[in-house]
């Protein structure tokens, strides 16, 4: 990729982000409910106090003026104070990001290993019982809503069997001081193997909930692209060379089959972020997704706007990564 193409790509971000900022801002402004009423709604506050708070938060100004101010501040990296936390929005968000990234990475890992592994297996053993079971299971996995599947997992492993925790990131006994806020890292920094295992146990159910849905999707993509690759002349020619079966499958067929799979996986990671909102809420996972949901319920305008912008940037960057990966895997493409 040339530097020019890179700059072009980054410039494309500007209109995308402007559009998203406008949509989010005005949708929030149009949503019924008043943040001041929600904060001081217990009738003890006088109308004067409410008016004062409204002025403090800038909510007495007309919406277009507030939007202009928001854009101006956002351009300088200033997203205002979170109504609820009374702290800068950026700070609140940054505290929550590691939990979400940790969950997303764990889900990705599960999805990639299971999805690609089963997809290859199903394609190689086409029309066998393995293929049929994998295909039907993946259909179930794709169609099952995450919140419902998450609750089922909780009922089975946490309630009925009692082998895994219901919610949260770590038990009280295992808490360690924050360094990176990635608990799997922080517990190791603190030298607490027991805490590490506890964090891992907490991570398992939400990661499986998120990861399985995506694994099911990736499995279908992998199976289809692997079947296509296996039917190509270059696979026949590779077999005619007398090289090992493993080399034919993994070096010749899979390398080509992975091109669409990896691209789809990178884009789908954005979908994982969306799925996070539900799964983090179900599992009480203190990440970005739950923060946004709470922010929406409390009409925490600055927080929600900043979070959605962050999602948008991430999504666009993931698409960008998908393009880079596609070019890296496919020598015929030059960006």
């Amino acid at each position: 990729m040339t530097p020019v193409a890179l700059v072009e790509r980054l410039l494309q971000l500007v209109p995308v982000l402007l559009g998203i900022a406008a949509v989010v801002f005005f949708m929030m402004a149009l949503t019924p409910g008043d943040p001041v009423e929600l904060m001081l709604g217990d009738a003890l506050a006088t109308p004067e106090q409410k008016e004062s708070l409204r002025r403090d938060m800038g909510l007495d100004r007309p919406a277009p003026e507030r939007f202009a101010l928001f854009l101006k501040n956002a351009a300088t990296g200033e997203f205002g104070m979170s109504f609820h936390h009374r702290r800068p929005v950026g700070q609140v968000i940054l505290e929550r990001v590691p939990a979400t990234v940790e969950l997303t990475l764990a889900s990705m890992l599960i999805a990639l290993v299971l999805g690609i592994g089963l997809g290859v297996l199903a394609a190689v053993k086409r029309d066998s019982w393995i293929d049929r079971v994998a295909t039907v299971t993946s259909l179930v996995g794709v169609s099952m809503p995450g919140f419902w599947f998450g609750i089922l997992l909780i009922l089975l492993f946490a309630v009925a069997l009692g082998v895994l925790p219901v919610s949260g990131r770590i038990g009280y006994a295992g808490e360690v001081p924050f360094v990176t806020r990635f608990l799997l890292v922080d517990t190791l920094i603190a030298g607490r193997v027991d805490s590490f295992l506890d964090a891992l146990r907490h991570l398992l159910l939400p990661a499986v909930t998120l990861g399985l849905a995506m694994a099911a999707f990736l499995m279908r993509v992998t199976r289809a692209s692997m079947l296509e690759a296996l039917a190509q002349d270059y696979v026949t020619f590779a077999e005619a060379k007398g090289i090992s079966r493993a080399r034919v499958l993994f070096r010749h067929a899979l390398k080509n089959a992975l091109i669409p799979t990896v691209t789809v996986a990178a884009i789908e990671t954005g979908t994982l972020l969306g799925g996070n909102m539900i799964v983090e809420t179900v599992f009480g996972w203190p990440g970005l997704g739950r923060l946004v949901v709470e922010g929406i319920f409390t009409r925490n305008y600055p927080l929600v706007q900043a979070c959605v912008l962050l999602y948008a940037v991430t999504y666009v960057l993931l698409n960008f990564c998908a393009d880079l990966l596609y070019a890296a895997l496919n020598p015929r493409v030059r960006l």
Binding site: D233, Y234, F237, K241, G242, I243, S244, H252, K255
Partner: protein
């Protein structure tokens, strides 16, 4: 007489589709002699490629080799365990496919695609660290041998960075990397520009001499085969209809299909000769009647053609699947009539053949009859 390098006997490869069983290859007999170039000619769908993919065990489902023997180096490849067959592929028998653009892996560098073949088979490579460097050196040597300019640098390129002719050379390099005894070149020129076709054919001929290997040249182009092959085999609808020395077959074809093919080709020596296409089309290979497959299109069809027509010896080391009664050719009639007789049972048969041949053709070799007898004996044994 030397034993054939590759002997295919009664090979049947069928494709089990929803519409029915497609008998793509149905009772093929072929020999490839050491060092010779055999041309296999036929239309699309005549079973040329499937025959030789079957030899290598590379037919994919729903295709399956149903019956037949493939004798190579004293072993029946059709019965070989997969591992032993794989060890033989690329080392003893190599194949090049029609279109190098699709046969070469687009995602791997040319170097890796050559070197992996050498690493899989070459026993002379030093063990340990020098192994891949030695394989690389051999790959480079072969690339230079097939005439790729600037081979050292071009090894690092991907297939799409080569021109069509150069890509074909790269594929030939891979096939020849382990110096096989037999190269199967499946339509080596079809995907190429006319100007490059001759270069590639000349390269294959040159490499055949340099490596002392046999070549099977599969083509739908009778002209290409006539120019480069010692012997020729014509296939029609999954069966061999005629084989023999190239010159003899082209000078005087026995089978009406061969005759039709030759009449449908323009001649440089006689550009005004009208081109006669063969009427009709290749039969659907599902639910075939046990009769001559060329029957619906044959100008000499007769009642006897409603029975299966086997390949019969025609003398002169030739075989053809024609009904002798319908054939106006005297020599064929004699030979075919004799096919019904077990020559081993009649010690005077050879002499009588000689006499009859002499009656037909005064220039006939007096030993011809004895040779035909021997051939017939083999045929009868094979039929038994």
């Amino acid at each position: 007489m030397t034993a054939p390098l590759l002997a295919i006997r009664d090979l049947r490869t069928w494709f089990h589709t929803r519409q029915g069983v497609v008998k793509a290859v149905d009772g093929v007999d072929l020999d490839v002699m050491p060092g010779e170039c055999l041309g296999v000619v036929g239309e699309s769908g005549s079973g040329k490629s499937v025959t030789f993919l079957s030899v290598l065990g590379l037919v994919k489902p729903p295709g399956r080799v149903e019956a037949g023997r493939v004798i190579f180096g004293g072993r029946d490849l059709a019965k070989l365990p997969p591992d032993e067959l794989r060890a033989l592929r690329g080392r003893d028998i190599a194949i090049t496919l029609q279109d190098a653009l699709t046969a070469l892996n687009p995602a791997l560098r040319v170097e890796e695609q050559i070197v992996e073949t050498i690493l899989a088979h070459d026993r002379d490579l030093p063990p340990g660290r020098g192994r891949s460097a030695a394989a690389r050196a051999k790959a480079l040597e072969m690339l230079r041998l097939v005439g790729i300019p600037d081979a050292e640098r071009r090894m690092h390129d991907y297939p799409h960075q080569f021109s069509g002719g150069m890509r074909q050379r790269v594929m030939i390099t891979i096939a020849l990397a382990c110096r096989p005894k037999l190269l199967i070149a499946d339509e080596p020129t079809t995907a190429l520009d006319v100007t490059v076709q001759a270069q590639v054919l000349a390269l294959i001929a040159r490499m055949r001499r340099a490596l002392g290997m046999s070549v099977v040249l599969i083509s739908h182009n009778l002209g290409v085969v006539a120019r480069y092959c010692d012997r020729i085999a014509l296939m029609y609808a999954g069966q061999v209809v005629e084989t023999g020395p190239t010159r003899a077959v082209i000078a005087a074809p026995y089978h009406p299909y061969t005759q039709g093919l030759l009449r449908s080709m323009p001649l440089l020596s006689d550009p005004d000769r009208p081109i006669q296409p063969i009427d009709g089309q290749v039969p659907d290979l599902i639910d075939l009647e046990p009769e001559c497959r060329f029957l619906p299109r044959c100008p000499r069809a007769a009642e006897i053609c409603r029975q299966p027509v086997p390949l019969l010896p025609m003398g002169d080391a030739r075989l053809a699947a024609v009904d002798p009664a319908a054939d106006s050719n005297e020599g064929a009639r004699i030979s075919a009539r004799l096919a019904a007789v077990d020559p081993a049972a009649d010690p005077n048969e050879g002499a009588r053949i000689s006499a009859r041949l002499a009656a037909v053709d005064p220039a006939a070799d007096p030993n011809e009859g004895a040779r035909i007898s021997a051939r017939l004996a083999r045929c009868v044994r094979a039929a038994a």
